[in-house]
Amino acid sequence: MVEAIIKEPLWKIRLKLWARSFKTGWELFREKKLALFGLSVIIFFAIFGLVYPLYPSIMRAVFWKDDPFGYQTFAPYDPIIGFDPHIMNHPSPPSLRHPLGTDPLGRDILSMIMYSTPREFILGITAALITVVIGTIIGASCAYYGGVIDTFFMRLADIVMLFPSLALLMVLSAFIDLTLFRLALIIGMLSGFGSITLVLKAQALTIKVRPFIEAAKSTGASDAYIIFRHIIPNILPLSFLYMMLNVTGAIFTEATLSFLGLANIRMSWGVIIQMAESSGYLMGASIGTYWWLWLPAGACITLLCSAFYFLGRGLEEIVNPRLRKR
């Protein structure tokens, strides 16, 4: 009888339901001005990073028309090996040729920043994704199975939380070559086995006692089916929220490690500041004189970190009914 009433295929109904929940979510989200601000900053940085390949060619067409040879030889807008032979003293202050000036090695700061932007996104999102996948699966299975699995992973989380993550990463940097992906992997695993499992497990425990889990069990659903099709979709909003907050942490950790010179990353926002510090431009009065060496890169780190945090808080107010207005 039921088939006669609903003629639409199942995927279409699901799509409609998704669209509807997305629409209500968006309505709620639109009221959060700060979250919108965060989203727009993230979009801005995404575009900013994507247009990087255009930047050297535009600059070449405008300023290097008369000197194609110099452009070919010195690659003045290359973020890693670039050098501008037309300027006597590096670091040079912002000028038309170099909108944010050059660093002590004669590289263009704006091009360094633009080049690093996609890498920061990749690092932050990869680390957060790993964290959330681990945290969600472990949290859900701990809540569902209980017993030995639960005890094991909870004690593991206790131990991981005991380690100060920055100090641990510093030690790890001594015997692991911390490239971008390895760093993302390690940061992701460290926070994935840590506190996030506790939060997600607590949420999964409230789902586990709902009647539909009992119903699924009585129809003979397997454990894996219940975990992946019933429990995880219900804690997914919360994990998505924690993903946003974890992006902030990952980018911050990478920047700090690069700043201390402990990561093997060729170029990132932290490396730009480290360059300025290790060549002695961040001491006393030269801090203000050479502001373009540290301020733009630092501002970028801060802006992107806070943008993800704003987005996360905005989502939290939607996901967490405790924080909703009325």
Partner: protein, 383 residues
């Protein structure tokens, strides 16, 4: 309660042993050793190198060394540091601990007081201008790149305004012909701050018994100002006020930076809990009774929202040591975080292990205290 406590203590001891084991093997896995830097030194002959190896215990197999370490750990002996050779790790830690603790406890206290006030107000006027502004600035400072903030503050206060020293712990020129050590004076300063805190808490408890608001206020202000004046005059009479002032001056900038960086954490927690509490029935009742807005906010809502903030406070005190690496490096503050970084670059394994283990013990104790405090403050919670 007692059963819960004993269970927790057993758990903590087991956790600690696993933690120490992991830390020890992690440090053993580090490539090279402290002695490697003598390899290239022509003055050190192979015989001396062998001797050094024996002295530092590198001739024994790792497992033996691990068992020795565990045996010593049981009597709270963390071994001897390599880079500060005859000094014990525990004595290095206890020399540097007061500096880190003073720095972080001060900034944590200030930032929690600040966060409590701001969070309470922004939750009360949710969605209004004050809420938006405080949340925005709070989150920006909460996610700011800490070295950036430190550099900016050094530049603004140290260079442009020139009112505060840039970094370091003391001004060496001032201390040239002084017979007492800075550490000694610093400990006295710490004691003074501790006494001040005790007096403050006692006065708070006493003033709650008083009937009128005016009496409370007078008692609070008079006694606080009195304590400050008394301690300042004692410092002046002892003739060491200028040196104490030097240390305080060097502390202002790191404390200010840390406070700015961390106040939003407590503010956001306070705001979220307040939002939860505000919807309770007793708040509506209190408003319906016609109580002034401020009384409802401070006496009815904020008091009940204080609990998560308190536990957060205790736990964050536990993390003071690990959080110090960036700040102490930026301000050249000779605390535990700097010691960690130095030990890492020198490969001073015992000091590294000692610092990590000490941090772990500190965090575990803080968690235990938080649990007890939770049960103590919230009568609904029974273990």
């Amino acid at each position: 309660m007692l059963r819960f406590l004993s269970k927790r203590v057993v758990q903590i001891v087991i956790l600690l042993f696993i933690y120490v084991t992991i830390v020890f093997w992690l440090m053993e896995a580090l490539p090279g050793s402290f002695l490697d830097k003598y390899l290239m030194n022509p003055k050190i002959t192979p015989e001396i190198r062998e001797n050094l190896k024996r002295q530092f215990g590198f001739d024994k197999p790792v497992l033996t060394r691990y068992l020795y370490y565990m045996k010593n750990f049981l009597v709270l002996d963390l071994g001897v540091s390599f880079s500060y050779f005859p000094k014990k790790v525990t004595s290095i830690i206890f020399e540097r601990l007061p500096r880190t603790v003073f720095l972080f406890v001060t900034s944590t206290l200030v930032s929690y007081a600040f966060g409590y006030t701001l969070g309470k107000r922004s939750a009360w006027r949710r969605g209004k201008v004050i809420d938006q502004v405080t949340t925005f600035t709070g989150i920006v400072f909460w996610t700011i790149f800490l070295p950036l903030l430190a550099i900016f503050n050094i530049w603004l206060f140290g260079v442009i305004l020139g009112i505060l020293p840039l970094n370091q712990f003391i001004d060496p020129n001032l201390w040239r012909n002084v017979s007492f050590s800075a550490q000694d004076l610093f400990l006295k300063l710490l004691l003074n701050a501790f006494i001040f805190l005790i007096v403050f808490l006692t006065i708070m408890i006493i003033s709650r018994r008083l009937k009128t608001i005016n009496a409370k206020r007078i008692l609070l202000y008079v006694s606080l100002i009195g304590t400050i004046i008394i301690s300042i005059s004692i410092w002046i009479l002892s003739g060491r006020a200028i040196y104490a002032w030097d240390i305080i001056k060097h502390m202002v900038l790191p404390v200010f930076t840390l406070t700015l960086y961390s106040f939003a954490g407590s503010m956001l927690v306070m705001r979220d809990t307040m939002l939860d509490v505000i919807r309770e029935d007793y708040i509506t009742t209190a408003k319906a009774k016609g109580l002034p807005d401020k009384v409802v906010r401070d006496k009815h809502a904020a008091r009940n929202a204080l609990l998560p903030l308190m536990t957060n406070f205790v736990i964050s005190l536990g993390f003071t040591i690990s959080g110090g690496i960036i700040t102490e490096t930026m301000f050249s503050w000779p605390g535990l975080g700097r010691a960690y970084l130095e030990a890492l670059s020198q490969q001073d394994t015992p000091l590294l292990i000692g610092l990590l283990v000490f941090t772990g013990v500190f965090v575990l104790i803080a968690h235990l205290v938080a649990d007890i405090l939770y049960a103590f403050l919230d009568p609904r919670i029974r273990y």
